[in-house]
Each structure stands twice: as structure tokens, then as C-alpha cells.
Amino acid sequence: MIKVENVSFSYTKAPFISNISFQVEPGEIFGFLGPSGAGKSTLQKILIGMLTSYNGSVKVNGLEVKNHDNSFYETIGVDFEFPSLYEKLTARQNLNFFSSLYSGEKRNIEELLSKVGLLSDAEKRVSDFSKGMKSRLNFIKSIVHNPSILFLDEPTSGLDPTNSSLLKDMILAEKASGKTIILTTHNMEDAAKLCDRVVFIVDGSMKAMDTPHNLIMRKGAGLLKYSYQKDGIEYVSECPLNATHKDETLLSLIHSNQLLTIHSQEQTLGDVFMEITGRKLS
């Protein structure tokens, strides 16, 4: 569906995006993860044919995007990281207008509006919308023409927890209906929840690519932390989850019911990111 080979690009003379290669299969949610300024949005712009001066090859639906014509956009949907709507028009007018620019089957606008909870604001001007309302409208705008490939650049940023989880469910529903999705985020929980595979991007290059599960597992098992008291002094100790049977102290504490606290500590995707790239996310 999407095949990227050895892509490099820079806005300036200094090298920036370099050595990017990956492949996205149909029906997959593929995540771009990286700190601010890493080049995630830039990479997305390359994939959607907005930056054509890249080196290497980017094929979307079998077509080298550098050579795309306007019909290329019939089948892809793009949700930018910023609102890109007519502020003077109402939500419904925006959707109607953008929808009218495509041929082919359109989505039901009422249904989309109601899914993101904007039906009662449909006649409001976008300039009177809050940040989160604009984000949600921007998202449904990107799918009005029922595209088969979706590019979502931080679709949940600026949303409250309720709407954020609502949007995530919608993204999963899109996937369930067979869409291929490229999702850019710096939210590790979102990435772990939504993505089939993620790629870590730092300073324009790929640092790792795998399923969230494998990435987490790659760094070995999580830790078990426990505390206990001995001779009036409190001790804290830990052992890897996959070696608890070898920890004599722990075993004896369990047998004698002497544990004060016990926690397992799974690695998060964020920890793994930090370990691999030496950088914190956001």
C-alpha cells in the first residue's frame, strides 16, 4: 500500500530526513513516533505528495508520489496537525464544500458530525469553535470522501480525555472497515493502543521499527519491586519478572507473609523510546 525506500529530504542545505525505508500493509495502523521537530510532519508531507523534492522512492498505491496527478487525492485523506478550515463557514458548510470536491461515494455528513459530537454545532461558524471542536471537525473533514488511506497528524492533540478516546475509537473503526492509516503522535499510550507497528523518528532518521509489543519486550521483561522489613529497617529490592523463581529473598518473604509492598513494573513504550533514542518524548 505504501512503500518507502531510502528517502532523504531537507528544507535547507543541512541533511535532515535521511535513510527512511518502511512498508505499510493494507489495513494497518502505522505510527510515526518522535519528539517535537523530529520530522514526523515533514515525512507525512512527503508521503502525501506535498514535498516532491525528496530523494529515494515513495510509492503510495503503487504510484511514485513525486509524479502524482490530482486524482491521487481521491483516495487519500489528510488530517493536518493544525485546523485547515474556512473560518467564516459553518461546520456543515465546510464539510459540504470539501465533500463536493471529490468524485465517488461520500460519507454521510450528519452521521460524521454526530459521531464526533458536533451535530448541535453544525450551523456554527468555525471561527466560534473551540480548539478541540476544530480538531474534531478537521478529522471528519479528512474522511468525508471515504479515502482508503488516512494520514493523521496528531489527531488527538488538544482534545479532552472523553473526546480523545472517542476519536481513537473512530480511528479503530476506520481500520476495522479496511482503511490503511498513518498516525503521527508523540503520545506513547495512544501509539501503543492504536498502532500495529510504530517507527521511532529522531532528528530525521529512523531509530527502531516494530510492533509496540515487540518493542516493549525487546528490552527484556519488566521488573518486580518489593519492600520488606528486617531488624526494624525497611529494604527495597527488585528482580526481573521472568526470574522471580530464583530470588530467594522474595520467595522466603512470600512464604512468611512478610512483604510490605509488591509492584510489577512493565516497561512502557515511552521507556523503550527513551532507552533506544536517548530522548524523551514531548
Binding site: 510532519s41 508531507k45 502525501i48 506535498m50 514535498l51 516532491t52 490530482n70 486524482s71 491521487f72 487525492y73 481521491e74 487519500i76 489528510v78 493536518f80 493544525f82 485546523p83 485547515s84 478550515l85 474556512y86 473560518e87 467564516k88 463557514l89 464544500f97 470539501f98 463536493s100 470536491l101 471529490y102 468524485s103 473533514k141
Partner: protein, 228 residues
Amino acid sequence: MRLLRLTLGEFYFQFKYGILLLYCLITVVYLCVLGMIPQGAKITTAVILVFTDPAAMGLFFLGAVVLLEKSQRVNCSLAVTPIKVSEYILAKVIAFMITGTIVGGILCIFAGIEQLFFALLGTALSSVLFSLCGLLIAVKIHSLNQFLLATVPLEIVLCIPAFLYLFNVIRSPFMLIHPGVAAIELLKNSTDFWYLCIISLVFWIGVVFYISKKATAKFFAQMGGVKL
């Protein structure tokens, strides 16, 4: 069909942004001015009014519309739809041409210009040319100040030779190479050179269209937005 929808959209934006209202007000004011001008100077006045307004206003209005789109980053949204750059340009230019020509037509009829066809053709063609220039500047610049800085010299270059010609300061058929002069000549339709005027205007429109198309394609790919 997409072009038709886009053009209708542009009329709607003209209405929403208050541009249509402004055109109506201008028409009323100009009609009053024309009504006060003595018969002998009516046609010349109408020519100046039509040339500087319904025709040339496209430069500012179309530029303003593009700047608004830029500030709202709608250009990014449009760039990822199937609309072609040429459709984007044509829709805007056609919408402003129609509005401008209607206003111009009303003024010409009121002033009693005889060969209305040439006058309207002159208005339409110069409106297209000015609009394209406005588009070209708007897609290139990054702020409202830059826009004003760039449009004023352009207005001067397009208008001054035309006025010098209109008032017989300089008069030579070679002047028709200048699009402003060609437009004035068509509006006045006092010439046997109407076909030269049309060729000149169409030539310049072609040139500016070509350049704006390149610039707009680049603009479509720009995500920066603009601060107003």
C-alpha cells in the same frame, strides 16, 4: 463540473467576506459621481472608474481572499483534494471577472458608452489580468504589509501609462503593447485597433497565468501559513 462548483464557492466567499456588498456600495457611489459629471466628461470618467475599480479591484480583493485562505491554512486542505491548480486559479478569476464585469457594465450603460460589447470585453479582460496579478502576489508574500508593498508599485506600472495614454500625453499605437493601455482603449472603443488590444491583453493574461500557475503550485505545497 468541479470548476463550476469551485466558482460558485468563490461567489459565496465574496458574499461571506463582504466583497459583494463592497462592490454594491462602490457602484452606488460611482453612479452618483457619474450623475454629477457634465455630459462631455462622462465617458472619460466612466472609463477611469471602470478601469481603476471593477477591473483593478480584483487585484486587491482576490489577493485578500488568498491571504485569508493562507491565514486559515485552507490552502493545505485544498492542496490535498483533487482540484487542479488551474481550476483553483480559474474559479477565483472567473468569479471576480463576472462580478467586476457586471459592475463595469452598469457604469458603462449609465455613462452612455456606445459600443458596450467592447467596453465589457475590456472590463472582463483587464479584470482577469489584474486578478491574476493579485493572486500571483498573494501566493508569494508572507504578510499583509508585504502584500501592500508589492501591489502599489504594480498598480502604478499598470495604471500610469494607461492614464497618460487616456489623456493624450503619450499617444502611439505601440503603447497598446501595454495591457493597461490596451484595456483603456477597449473601454473607450475609440479605436480601429480593437483586435490589437485584445491580442495584447490576452498575451499578458497568458504570461501572468503561466507564472501564477507555477507560483500557486508551489503555494499549495506550502504549509507555513501567513500571519495577518
